[in-house]
């Protein structure tokens, strides 16, 4: 008799506990499935988000059982990944464009450095004025206007940008003012990418013009560091 009573009390206790834990668990499962669905929907392209948010929520309501709901929501995350992949196929992938732009910039710098290395002698320093006189360089054709139709800020009517290097600028990371045309910061845009990819390099001939103070071409500032004097130069300016 006592055993039966104990079993009855135990049964009631377990049922109450089950109700309590079960309710808690269901709430957790609901929260979890909602989170998964939100994650899936955020992965989708924006025009499709509203549609699938409603469609998938509706579908999930038709599924019996908490575990199956979780599996459904988990499947939606994978579905969203696949749907994005083929929805954007053939369209511009921003990260791909950015990577391509970086590759092009590196190639441009390599070409520039190689071209400069082949030039002898390098730029000379005017010891008397402390000004860096630049003789060698390359020019980059970018067209007179940018793809958006606006005039290029550095190129003249010919569409060429002058790129110069001096003794201090053999560092490939320092290409002078023209390197500013390729912005590697977060503001890079697709048209800039196209613009860069259309550029071509041309090494200036030996008779390249000597830059003067009045030259429109960007010249390094006067504060540019002066190289130690070369023995062969004898401290004389050679242009």
């Amino acid at each position: 008799m006592a055993q039966a009573l104990m079993l009855a009390i135990g049964g009631v206790f377990i049922a109450a506990l089950n109700q309590l834990v079960g309710g808690e668990l269901r709430a957790r499962v609901f929260w979890f499935t909602q989170r998964l669905l939100v994650l899936a929907i955020r992965r989708l392209p924006e025009p499709q988000q509203g549609r699938f948010a409603e469609e998938w929520t509706s579908h999930m309501n038709d599924i019996p059982g908490d575990v199956r709901k979780v599996l459904f929501a988990r499947g939606c995350v994978g579905a969203a990944r696949d749907m994005v992949a083929f929805s954007t196929a053939g369209k511009t992938n921003v990260s791909h464009v950015r990577n391509r732009a970086v590759e092009l910039l590196r190639a441009l710098k390599r070409s520039f450095i190689n071209a400069v290395k082949e030039m002898e002698p390098p730029a000379k320093i005017d010891r008397t004025s402390g000004r860096t006189l630049i003789r060698e360089g390359i020019r980059v054709k970018v067209g007179p206007t940018r793809p958006d139709g606006k005039p290029h800020p550095h190129a003249g009517k010919t569409g060429w940008i002058m790129r110069f290097i001096n003794d201090q600028d053999l560092d490939p990371c320092r290409l002078g003012p023209a390197s500013a045309m390729i912005r590697l910061d977060s503001g890079i845009k697709r048209r800039e990418f196209i613009w860069v990819s259309l550029a071509s390099l041309e090494v200036l001939p030996e008779s390249a013009p000597v830059l003067s103070e009045s030259a429109a071409i960007p010249v390094l500032p006067e504060s540019a560091p002066v190289l130690p004097e070369r023995a062969s130069d004898g401290g004389q300016v050679q242009i």
């Binding site: 409603e54 469609e55 929520t57 509706s58 038709d62 988990r74 939606c76 696949d82 083929f86």
Partner: protein, 104 residues
């Protein structure tokens, strides 16, 4: 030339389920029940078929307020989709039949 969607076994299952219920439309949940496909497989297929013009989809006519739940979206084969689905299933069954014939 438009290549159309890739006709995998799962895609054919979806097309078959819609063909069998034609002209009625099926919701995503109903298609999943019939084909036993998981959501991760089903919805990319539905979207591909829709983008290829083989399927048409539309919302339930009632509003969520009237229904008291989110609306279901129904899928239906278009005329071109039905024709191509029939052709694809016919090709598959005939090739399987051909293989069976060669065995004997």
């Amino acid at each position: 030339m438009d290549k159309g969607p890739q006709l995998t076994t799962q895609t054919l299952k979806v097309l078959g389920s819609l063909l069998n219920n034609r002209p009625d439309a099926l919701s995503g949940a109903e298609i999943a029940r019939v084909t036993r496909l998981k959501s991760g497989t089903l919805y990319p297929i539905l979207l591909r078929l829709e983008q290829a013009g083989w399927l048409d989809s539309y919302w339930e006519s009632e509003t969520p307020q009237e229904l008291g739940r989110p609306r279901r979206r129904f899928y239906q084969l278009t005329a071109i989709g039905a024709r191509k689905a029939k052709s694809a299933i016919h090709d598959l069954t005939s090739s399987i039949g051909g293989l069976a014939w060669h065995r004997h």
